[in-house]
Structures are given as structure tokens and as C-alpha cells.
């Protein structure tokens, strides 16, 4: 079992024929993901990577029955692409593109919500169900199959966490890179109940960052609703106030969004919080061998 995506999930790629789209779509295909086609306006009717190309998402959905779209279009066109996917009845849009304007994402997410479409990202590595389905840019071989669910704001830290879990002899059910932008799709609070309901997931790792209050919301949710053990690490404990650390959201403003307050809230919710990013794997082992 897994959450959101598995070996049967049919995926299309928006921005299929571009450089990034091509490279990562072929990696996904190699991993075993059912990429059933792609969309590049104006290139409909062609074939790319052995899959059909469509002019519109609606056509692609109608012909292939895809339920998930992986989005690689340039930042200025992301909102348009997301809304087109929502309109066409896609159930989940995984937005990899980095650099989309916040205002665009605000409208795109509102529209997606209205149409009942889930989104992941933007500016994220994507989602992977280990050894079944990779929708994104993460290195597939790091995610061995196992019983740990992973939710992370940061890309390479997701890989780091999975790697540590695997080194301790465990593995991953599904890993979701939710992205660190100010407006993102599915977040801890929506993903935690999915992992709670997934019979194969026995523990959850959550990687957070300074900025915003998603981790605080997650802590409140965990306290009331999650029975499985949760391990958390918050990056940016030593980040100075007011400086933006890479991600648009990773900034401590005023007194809020600090690592310390997030760590305290999670700890109070019964989460095993690690101070060092090197301890994630060990902490997973500890909670799973209890």
C-alpha cells in the first residue's frame, strides 16, 4: 500500500517535450511509472518518448484516462497549466517548476480546490511510492520499499532522510516533497491522515523548515489524530532572523516561524524531534523498535 500514487497510476506530463520534461519523464518511465502521454500545445499528434503528445490536457485525459499530471512548464505558465489540469478533471497535479509567482499560485490553488483537484508543490521534488511510481525529479534508487511515510519541505533533505531510513534497515512507503514556497498544495495536515490510514505505513518522518506555521498546524493535528509514531527534524535552527534561506518561505519574520517554536510544538504533541539532521534514521529505528 501507499498513499496517493501506486504502480497503476496513469500520469501525463505537462511541458512534456521541453528539456526538463523530457529528461525527468524518461527517468520516471525507467523507474516504472505509467507515463501515458504528455501535453505540449501545438505539438499534438506527435509522439515523444514513445508516448502520444496532446494539445490540451482535456484531450490527454479523455484518450489516456490519466488521473495525475506532472507539471514542468516554465514559471510564467504554471498557473495556467494547473488550472487547465483542474478543468480537465485531473485528480492530482504535481508541480515541479521552481519560480512561479506567488499571486499566480494563489489563484491556481483556489481554482484547483474549487474543482476538487489536489496539488503538490510548486518548487518541489514530487512524490514517489517506492519501487512503484515516481512522479518528480528525485533519484529513485534512494527510496527502498518499506514502512515509513515521509513528508518534507526540502528536496535534498528528503533524499538524506530516506537514505538514513534505508541505512537503518527500513524503507519508504511513499515520500512527498511538498515544497517550501509561501503557497503550496498538500501539506503535512492533509498528508498525515493519509499515512495514518495506510496499513503499510508504520511510522512517519516529517521534515520542516523555518518560516510559516505549517509545522505548528501539523503538531496540533498530530496530537489529536495520529496514533503512529512521528519523527521530525526542522531545518534552520541556526538561521538568522529576516534572512531568506533559499526557499521563498524559509524566512523568520518577527518572532514567528522559528525552528525552536516548531520543535517545541511538535515535541508537545508527542513527536520524536531530532536536533541533528544526522539522527533522523536512528530516531526512526528507535520509534519502530519500541
Amino acid at each position: 500500500m501507499s498513499i496517493l500514487v501506486n504502480k497503476d497510476t496513469k500520469v501525463i506530463v505537462q511541458g512534456f517535450t521541453g528539456k526538463e520534461g523530457t529528461f525527468h519523464a524518461s527517468q520516471c518511465i525507467d523507474y516504472g511509472t505509467k507515463i501515458v502521454g504528455g501535453v505540449t500545445p501545438g505539438k499534438g499528434g506527435q509522439e515523444h518518448l514513445g508516448r502520444p503528445v496532446f494539445n490540451t490536457v482535456a484531450e490527454a485525459v479523455e484518450t489516456t484516462g490519466a488521473t495525475v499530471s506532472m507539471i514542468f512548464v516554465p514559471p510564467a505558465f504554471v498557473a495556467d497549466a494547473v488550472m487547465e489540469a483542474a478543468e480537465a478533471g485531473i485528480e492530482l497535479a504535481v508541480i515541479i517548476t521552481e519560480g512561479a509567482p506567488v499571486r499566480d499560485m494563489m489563484y491556481a490553488k483556489m481554482y484547483a480546490t474549487k474543482k476538487g483537484m489536489n496539488t503538490i508543490g510548486p518548487n518541489c521534488p514530487g512524490i514517489i511510492t517506492a519501487e512503484e511510481c515516481k512522479i518528480g525529479i528525485m533519484p529513485g534508487m534512494i527510496f527502498k520499499k518499506g514502512n515509513v511515510g515521509l513528508i518534507s519541505k526540502s528536496g535534498t533533505l528528503t533524499y538524506e532522510a530516506s537514505h538514513q531510513v534505508v541505512q537503518e534497515g527500513y524503507g519508504i512507503t511513499t515520500a512527498v516533497g511538498i515544497g517550501g514556497d509561501p503557497i503550496i498544495g498538500l501539506s503535512y495536515k492533509q498528508l498525515l491522515p493519509m499515512f495514518e490510514a495506510d496499513p503499510e505505513t508504520e511510522a512517519i518522518v516529517m521534515i520542516g523548515e523555518i518560516g510559516g506555521d505549517l509545522e505548528i498546524q501539523a503538531a496540533a493535528y498530530i496530537k489529536e489524530n495520529i496514533s503512529k509514531p512521528v519523527v521530525a527534524f526542522i531545518a534552520g535552527q541556526t538561521a538568522p532572523k529576516g534572512k531568506r534561506m533559499g526557499h521563498a518561505g524559509a524566512i523568520i519574520s518577527g518572532g514567528s516561524g522559528t525552528a525552536a517554536e516548531k520543535m517545541a510544538a511538535l515535541e508537545a504533541a508527542g513527536v520524536k524531534v531530532v536536533v541533528s539532521p544526522a539522527e533522523i534514521g536512528k530516531a526512526v529505528k528507535e520509534v519502530l523498535s519500541k
Binding site: 527517468q27 494563489m106 533519484p139 534572512k243
Partner: protein, 390 residues
């Protein structure tokens, strides 16, 4: 991207957000000229830097004559202004804004930013004008009135009324206030602002609302569609090394410690700073080399890190994914040929092809390149090396 008060007020004027008359000046003579052009009997000389708290820091001065304008402009231009937002090193003032002196009857606060939880903008007002808003929020949160504005419907009368009545404005002033707030909303949305802050917003003796201060910041990702705003960028306000890094696709922030860090990915870069601290050291910087980690970016990274004389060791922490570790290892060796690296470099490469990478580094046999087994081993070695204990 942030802009200066005088630039924000230019935008305000365009959107009919009322502001006092004013002119920017780069020299004392220009300041005097500006004051003469403005006329009147009272002027304010305001240092233009990207930081608030200028008043308390001595960067905002009232002048009662043209001579006083000259005096203050002379003092303020070129001074290093230290405020609670500049950090202890302060910022050098390169320009002043000469503004007509306003008749202040009452000071308020009005600001807008993205409410991430609501996923839409929020407008905030307070009767505690002139105060630091973070302080008001922490100590007397009940004195801040907030209203979320759904951008699909835009700014409505009820948004304005909630704020106006929340501020306790008498009913004859509510209409003027709503006009002001609605104009501000439009200036914010149209320009993809990230935040706008008017502190203080004043009511004048004759009952008008005026933006006496103006701060605006913009979403960098949206600048491509606002060439007029991109032009307002003031490179003098940006840290030169950070700027240089950005030009090479690196994201660098200088910190105070002595362990330089080079990492791929922002989250892992922050985590690397954290683990250095955890092992008893102090990070010298945040540096995200991005996905590439090719010889040129790594070399540039070394060069930038080594500009900081405090750096005593460098911790390279790369998690190889799609870019394999063996290629990164070769890149690091290449980079040491491009840039002369004089301090110990502790390299931790993990992920795809990590073993081959370790082999490459070992075989290269370069004295100051030390391979680490894993994340904590790397951090420990880097901290020890910076202390001269390795």
C-alpha cells in the same frame, strides 16, 4: 526585492494613495534645490536605506529652514546608519528624501502581506502608529485589526469598514479611509508586492490621511512582468558577495562563524549549518550550489566562501541524486585547480555512487581534502579542522 521609501511613494502616487510632496537627492546641493522647489517652511530630511527604524537611528530630521536642510543633508549623506533592522554594522546612506513637513494629528499603522494560512492577502491596521508592529503584535495583539481579502472578489467596502471601525475612526472619516485602503490594495496586487507597510499612516490637522512612510517589497518570481519595478533595484543595498553568488546561480548568505559550508539544496544547507552548531562549531555561511554542482559552480563556491577571512575550514556536503557523487567528486578536484583552496576541505558525498566518489578523492591524494564517512562525521571533522584540531 525591496525598494526605497521614495520609490514606494512614486508607486503610491500612481495609485492615488495620498503622500506628501517630496524629492530624492543624491548630494547636498540637490537636497537644497529640492527643498526650494518644494517650498513651504518645514521639511524633513530622510535617509534612504532598505531598513526601518531610521527615525530612532538619527536618519530622519526635521528642518525649519533651507540652511537646516543643508546641514542635515550634509550630516546624513554618507553616514552609516544603524537601526534595529540594519544589524550592528549599519548601512551607508547614499541618498536622502526631502519631504514637506506634515501636520500630524494622529498616527496609525497600515500594512498588507500574504496570509499564508488563509492563502490570500491580509490587510492590517493599528492605532499604534510609529511603533514597531512586531512589538505591537507580541505585546498588545488586540490593537491590530486584520482583514483577509479574497482576490477573486477584490477589496470591498466591508473590508474597509472592518478596519476603519476597528481603528475607532469617527463615521465621517470612514469613507476617506476606505478610499485610501482600497487604493493601497490595488497598488499591492497590481505589482505583485510581497508586503507593503505604511508606518505611520497619519491623519493631518485638516482630517486627511497621508502615507508618511512607505515600505514595499516584491515577489522576485514576478519581477519579469514588472520591468518598471525591476528598474528600481538598488544594487548598493545588496551585499556584494551575495550578489556575485547570485550571478553564478548560487545562493549565499554570510554569517559570523568560521566553518564554511557548501551544500546542494536549501533545506540541506540549513541542516548543515544546524549540525555544525550541534557539533560545537559556528557556520560561516549558508551556500546552496543548487542541483548542478559542476566544477565551475563548486570553484565559484570555494572562491566566494574564501572571501571571508574568518573561514578556517570548508565543509562540502553534497547529497548526490541524479547528479552522481563520482561526478561531483571529480568536480571538486577540478575546482581546486581553478581556485586555490588554502584551508582544509572536508567532503561528505553520499547517495548515488558514493563509494566510487570516496575512491576518487582518496586516489587524488590531496593533503587538504579530507573525506568524511557520513553527515555527522563530516560536521565533526569540519568543526575540528576549523579549531586547528584535525
Amino acid at each position: 526585492m525591496n525598494i526605497h521609501e521614495y520609490q514606494a511613494k512614486e508607486i503610491f502616487r500612481k495609485y492615488n494613495v495620498p503622500v506628501p510632496q517630496g524629492r530624492v537627492a543624491f548630494t547636498v546641493d540637490e537636497a537644497v534645490e529640492a527643498a526650494k522647489e518644494l517650498g513651504g517652511k518645514l521639511w524633513v530630511v530622510k535617509a534612504q536605506i532598505h531598513a526601518g527604524g531610521r527615525g530612532l537611528g538619527g536618519g530622519v530630521k526635521l528642518a525649519k529652514s533651507i540652511d537646516e536642510v543643508r546641514e542635515w543633508a550634509d550630516k546624513i549623506l554618507g553616514m552609516t546608519l544603524v537601526t534595529h533592522q540594519t544589524g550592528p554594522e549599519g548601512k551607508v546612506v547614499h541618498k536622502v528624501y526631502i519631504e514637506e513637513g506634515a501636520d500630524i494629528a494622529k498616527e496609525y499603522y497600515l500594512g498588507m502581506l500574504l496570509d499564508r494560512a488563509a492563502e490570500m492577502p491580509v490587510m492590517m491596521a493599528s492605532t499604534e502608529g510609529g511603533m514597531e508592529i512586531e512589538k505591537v503584535a507580541a505585546e498588545t495583539p488586540e490593537k491590530i485589526v486584520k482583514v483577509n481579502i479574497d482576490p477573486t472578489v477584490g477589496f470591498q467596502g466591508f473590508h474597509g469598514r472592518k478596519l476603519a471601525f476597528g481603528l475607532g475612526l469617527p463615521k465621517e472619516e470612514v469613507g476617506t479611509f476606505i478610499k485610501f485602503a482600497s487604493a493601497l490594495y490595488k497598488a499591492y496586487m497590481d505589482n505583485d508586492a510581497e508586503m507593503v507597510e505604511i508606518n505611520p499612516l497619519i491623519k493631518t490637522g485638516d482630517g486627511k490621511f497621508l502615507a508618511l512612510d512607505a515600505k514595499m517589497g516584491f515577489d522576485d518570481n514576478a519581477l519579469y512582468r514588472h520591468p518598471d519595478i525591476s528598474e528600481m533595484r538598488d544594487l548598493e543595498e545588496e551585499e556584494p558577495t551575495e550578489l556575485e553568488a547570485k550571478e553564478h546561480g548560487l545562493s549565499y548568505i554570510k554569517l559570523d562563524g568560521n566553518v564554511g559550508c557548501m551544500v546542494n539544496g536549501a533545506g540541506l544547507a540549513m541542516a548543515t549549518m544546524d549540525i555544525i552548531k550541534h557539533e560545537g562549531g559556528e557556520p560561516a555561511n549558508f551556500l546552496d550550489v543548487g542541483g548542478g554542482a559542476n566544477p565551475e559552480t563548486v570553484a565559484k563556491g570555494f572562491e566566494i566562501i574564501l572571501k571571508d577571512p574568518n573561514v578556517k575550514a570548508i565543509f562540502v556536503n553534497i547529497f548526490g541524486g541524479i547528479v552522481r557523487c563520482d561526478r561531483v567528486a571529480n568536480g571538486i578536484l577540478e575546482a581546486t585547480k581553478i581556485t586555490d583552496v588554502t584551508v582544509p576541505v572536508i567532503v561528505r558525498l553520499d547517495g548515488t555512487n558514493a563509494e566510487e566518489a570516496a575512491e576518487i578523492l582518496r586516489n587524488a591524494n590531496i593533503e587538504n581534502i579530507i573525506a568524511a564517512e557520513n553527515l555527522s562525521d563530516g560536521a565533526r571533522k569540519a568543526v575540528a579542522a576549523a579549531k586547528g584540531e584535525l
